[in-house]
């Protein structure tokens, strides 16, 4: 039953709401929707109304009313179900049918009693609503014309009103219909104003939407350009840098014996500068890569990730006799390159900023919360004063001179950006000369998105 109803609804909507209008949901779309919805409910009501109509045939011998009723039902079915008829034509047939119905009722009931006039007003207002603003006055003109026609009909007895209960006088008719005409013209003047306002608002919204789409696209292009730029820069900048390092090297190996201490020192500075610039360029490239949405979610075994880190940094760890401990790490849905970057950067820092006389010891732990995973990486290193907690995450911001601790000041910025890109947060707790604990969270909701 429900299926038949929805099929019936779909059929009428398809006929009355052209898909070309649907694309931008302007006022016309809603006009057509309203019209379609009206049809959907009017049709069953038409059939229900047949019952009193058939009653009239049986007891009052008013067959013509039943005949008119059937004609109306036929027209309604036509505009609801016959395909490839313009919506405007359907609407016109509908409105004219309602007007005709009102005229008929006016003939067969007492015109001056005014009961049918409500029907005229409703027909007029409804037509103003479903048709374009520029036709708004036509429907009032039509009411005016019909009223004048009835005025003449009553005055000159053009129509036989004899079967009505009471005869109408012209004066009564003018008194009643003038009110109707006034209300109709009032509606013709006011209703289009509302639609005008709504139309303006909708077109404004549409324009904003179009502009938004355009700037979104432009931003995407810019992002791609920027990434391309970073890529090209990283490769093209390496080239001249290599020239500097290799020829400085050649200079010191071929002419080293002709140089004094100062000269050799100059060469070292030049070489060191080139090496540092290379690192900065590479780090910047890493930093710019964090924002790539192309990376997909996958199941990442953090145990394996950490074991892989141990292998990768085997030399460094052995040289510092460092210990990296953890108990049972989970396997989580996340973006593998990003989570790897975060762990690598934080662990690298733990190994790097160590106390000169103590072997680094790093503990890694994971805690499951309701909506997220919380990870902690604690070291026994230098520690950081609380006034610098925010600062260390800024790009190129360093707390040490590069001759003490190597680095470009990009690592923690990358870690922060990566964590935030995955929807988490990063922070730390630290005590100077005791050690630091970096915390970060990875929300589980991105896991659900995957499921």
């Amino acid at each position: 039953m429900i299926e038949i109803w929805s099929k019936y609804k779909r059929a009428i909507l398809a006929n009355c709401v052209p898909s070309s209008v649907e694309a931008n949901r302007g006022v016309n779309y809603w006009r057509n929707s309203l019209f379609a919805t009206t049809l959907i409910f009017i049709l069953p009501l038409c059939f229900i109304a047949l019952i009193p109509s058939l009653f009239l045939i049986t007891f009052e011998n008013k067959e013509y009313i039943t005949l008119l009723h059937f004609i109306t039902i036929g027209l309604m079915c036509f505009i609801a179900f016959v395909p490839s008829v313009k919506t405007a034509t359907r609407k016109l047939i509908f409105s004219l049918t309602v007007y005709a119905f009102a005229i008929t009722l006016n003939i067969f009931t007492s015109p001056s009693s005014g009961s049918v006039l409500v029907y005229f007003l409703a027909a007029c207002v409804y037509s103003i609503i479903i048709f374009d603003n520029k036709y708004a006055y036509w429907w009032s003109h039509l009411v005016l014309f019909i009223s004048i026609f009835f005025g003449f009909a009553i005055a000159f007895d053009l129509i036989d009103f004899s079967h009505n209960v009471d005869m109408s006088s012209v004066n009564e008719w003018i008194a009643v219909s003038s009110n109707l005409i006034f209300l109709c013209y009032l509606s013709s003047a006011l209703i289009p104003k509302i639609f005008k306002g709504i139309e303006n608002y909708i077109s404004e919204q549409q324009q904003l939407k179009t502009e938004l789409e355009a700037s979104k696209k432009a931003l995407q292009v810019k992002n791609e350009e920027l990434e391309q730029y970073a890529y090209v820069a990283s490769h093209d900048l390496q080239e001249p840098l290599r020239m500097v390092t290799s020829f400085m090297h050649k200079l010191s190996s071929n002419y080293g014996d002709q140089l004094d201490e100062k000269g050799k020192k100059y060469i070292t500075f030049a070489e060191n500068g080139a090496v540092r610039m290379k690192q900065i360029v590479l780090d910047l490239l890493d930093f710019s890569r964090v924002n790539r949405p192309s990376d997909e979610l996958e199941l990442v075994d953090l145990d394996a990730l950490l074991l892989n880190y141990l292998e990768l940094r085997e030399g460094t760890i052995a040289a510092a006799s460092a210990k990296i401990n953890w108990t049972e790490m989970p396997t989580i849905w996340t973006i593998k390159p990003l989570i790897t970057t975060v762990f690598h950067n934080l662990l690298d820092n733990g190994l790097k900023y160590r106390k000169k006389d103590t072997a680094p010891s790093i503990d890694i732990s994971a805690r499951e919360q309701n909506d997220y995973w919380e990870f902690a990486i604690s070291d026994n290193g230098l520690g950081i004063e609380s006034q610098f907690y925010d600062k260390i995450f800024k790009l190129f911001q360093r707390l040490h001179n590069s001759n003490e601790y190597e680095g470009t000041g990009v690592g923690l910025s990358i870690a922060k950006r990566s964590v935030e890109f995955m929807g988490g947060q990063i922070g730390l707790h630290s005590q100077v000369r005791v050690g630091s604990t970096f915390y970060f969270t990875i929300p589980k909701k991105i896991n659900e998105r995957q499921d």
């Binding site: 500075f269 030049a270 060191n272 040490h400 001179n401 001759n403």
Partner: protein, 144 residues
């Protein structure tokens, strides 16, 4: 007074730049004494005679880089210019940053001039000599 060498505090973390600046001062005829702070913390310690700088002398002129560890040049500058004792020392921002934001901020914090480090070696030497000529010869500095 005139025989006493001018005392300059150079706040700079790049060893190469330190050497270059020192050598530029060496080449000039003027007698200068140069102290070096390698990050923002050291600069402030030096000025307030804290930690390893308890015997530091008050500088006549400060050359301040922006991109330095711990406290950056802007932070050091605002500390100096907020301090009744220190604000009379001229601070010259000597930096590679040509970012207008850096320049505007430095002047807002009352830096005394802003000099971009020239990339060319000879230009760099000239710049240092000009700074020296203007601030240590032409200008009369406060001795408080």
């Amino acid at each position: 007074m005139s025989t006493k060498p001018a005392h300059i505090l150079l706040v700079e973390d790049n060893e190469g730049d330190i050497i270059l600046t020192l050598e530029a001062f060496e080449e000039s005829k003027l007698k200068t004494e140069i102290s070096i702070a390698r990050n923002g913390q050291e600069a402030l310690d030096f000025l307030y005679r804290k930690n390893e700088f308890t015997k530091a002398k008050r500088p006549d002129l400060i050359l301040l880089d922006i991109n330095i560890p711990i406290f950056n040049g802007h932070e050091v500058l605002s500390q100096i210019k907020d301090d009744e004792e220190l604000k009379s020392i001229p601070v010259i921002m000597l930096t590679t940053s040509s970012n207008q934001k850096d320049i505007d901020e430095a002047y807002k914090q009352y830096c005394n001039s802003y000099v971009k480090k020239p990339l060319d070696m000879n230009e760099f030497l000239k710049a240092i000599i000009k700074i020296e000529e203007f601030w240590l010869q032409l200008t009369t500095l406060s001795n408080k």
